[in-house]
């Protein structure tokens, strides 16, 4: 009785175990990046965590990347002191002036991942830089700044002004993200399936 079987077994689950493990490991990585201690400048602590968020999108793509960020946020919500400075709990998601940034992280990782997936399999510097700026900065600020204005009862423009201080740091993180992601994609290909190929298979 011989029945040759194909090397790729069909996956029954929506998320195969390996994807699940990548999501958990990246959520843990974002958490670990918050450990060294923050640089408190202005209303929002600057941390390496936003670098982790950008990397999640640029390395894992839209689905796995945003799920990793979501998982990190859930852990924080549950009361683990994972945000820079050892903060966590439901307060940072609701009434804190920086609350919007946490939702912005989620949206930002998705946008970064979505745009990066359109570039794959070729991850070249300038388009990737654009994708990561749109996801890692524009998308994050888009939610972060209005929520800050709301929670501090400040005019939108004032909140925007307060955020200018973060722009240089965030731009550096974008460049680091793109440089790291391009090496990672070379060392470990196949992390992000380009959308065209996915539709072709269906």
């Amino acid at each position: 009785m011989t029945d040759p079987v194909r090397a790729t077994a069909p996956t029954r689950r929506i998320l195969p175990a390996r994807d699940l493990a990548q999501i958990a490991i990246f959520a843990a990585l974002i958490a670990a990046l918050g450990l060294p201690g923050p640089l408190n400048i202005g209303p929002v602590p600057i941390t390496m965590q936003s670098l982790g968020v950008m990397l999640a999108g640029a390395v894992l793509g839209p689905r796995k990347g945003s799920l990793a960020v979501l998982l990190f946020l859930v852990l924080t919500l549950l009361g683990l002191p994972l945000l820079a400075g050892g903060r966590g709990g439901i307060g940072v998601f609701t009434v804190s002036p920086a609350a919007g940034y946490l939702y912005g992280y989620l949206f930002g990782a998705f946008v970064t991942g979505y745009l990066t997936a359109r570039l794959m399999p070729k991850y070249s510097f300038l388009p990737a830089l654009g994708a990561t700026i749109l996801g890692g900065i524009v998308a994050v600020y888009l939610i972060g700044i209005p929520v800050m204005a709301m929670n501090l009862a400040l005019p939108l423009w004032t909140a925007l002004g307060l955020n200018v201080a973060f722009l240089p740091g965030d731009l550096i993180k974008v460049v680091v993200t793109v440089l790291v992601a391009s090496q990672v994609h070379r060392a470990y290909p196949g992390l992000i399936t380009p959308p065209q190929r996915r539709t072709a298979r269906n």
Binding site: A17, I25, L35, P43, L71, L80, G91, V95
Partner: protein, 197 residues
């Protein structure tokens, strides 16, 4: 993992998690809508009382609330200048009370209890979200934090051993790649241990 929980036996600790969540939300809404400084002041006194009853260590409480004070140092003058000192004081009071209350909830409720409460809240959505799987993923991630922290430490040590004072890149790339390999091995173990069976 103990998280921000500070162990105790007060009635704040023992109150059902869902009840605490509902009361917390109610308080925040009421304080947020009240235009009266006296209401906010009263609420602040009540919150201080709750902290005393719960015997939350002062240092742990300060760590959660201090960042807000820092923000207020920046925001309060802007606010006072733009819309008057009464509005500024109201805003500051509301924010402090809300943040302190939320911190109190987090510090008097174990991670497991919060997880169970959220799983209960997720139950009506079971067609879309598998609450057990969420719980499993949360535990898996908590397990992964020391795993990733070990990888970061090993990469840093390897860098020191080679004597190279490399850039952020020379740490970040190996950390991410090795984390991905660890994810492969972990995924294989999850399959072998019957994750989807």
């Amino acid at each position: 993992m103990i998280g921000l929980y500070s162990p105790g036996t007060s009635f704040v600790h023992r109150a059902p998690t869902l009840l605490k969540l509902v009361l917390l939300s109610l308080c925040i809404v009421v304080i947020g809508l009240s235009p009266d400084l006296r209401v906010v002041g009263g609420a602040a006194a009540g919150v201080v009382l709750l902290f005393v009853v719960a015997r939350v260590p002062l240092r742990a409480a300060t760590a959660q609330i201090a960042p807000i004070l820092l923000i207020l140092v920046v925001a309060l003058p802007i606010q006072g200048f733009l819309s008057g000192w009464l509005v500024a004081a109201l805003m500051a009071g509301r924010l402090l009370v809300a943040v302190a209350l939320a911190a109190l909830f987090t510090m008097t409720t174990t991670v497991t209890a919060v997880l169970l409460a959220f799983q209960t809240l997720l139950r009506p959505f079971r067609r879309f979200i598998d609450a057990d799987r969420v719980g499993l993923l949360v535990a898996l991630t908590i397990r992964c934090i020391p795993l990733v922290a070990d990888i970061v430490r090993e990469v840093m040590e390897a860098r020191t051993a080679r004597g190279t004072r490399g850039s952020l890149m020379s740490i970040a790339v190996p950390v991410v790649v090795r984390s991905l390999y660890a994810a492969d091995a972990l995924g294989e173990a999850l399959v072998a241990r019957g994750l989807d069976d």
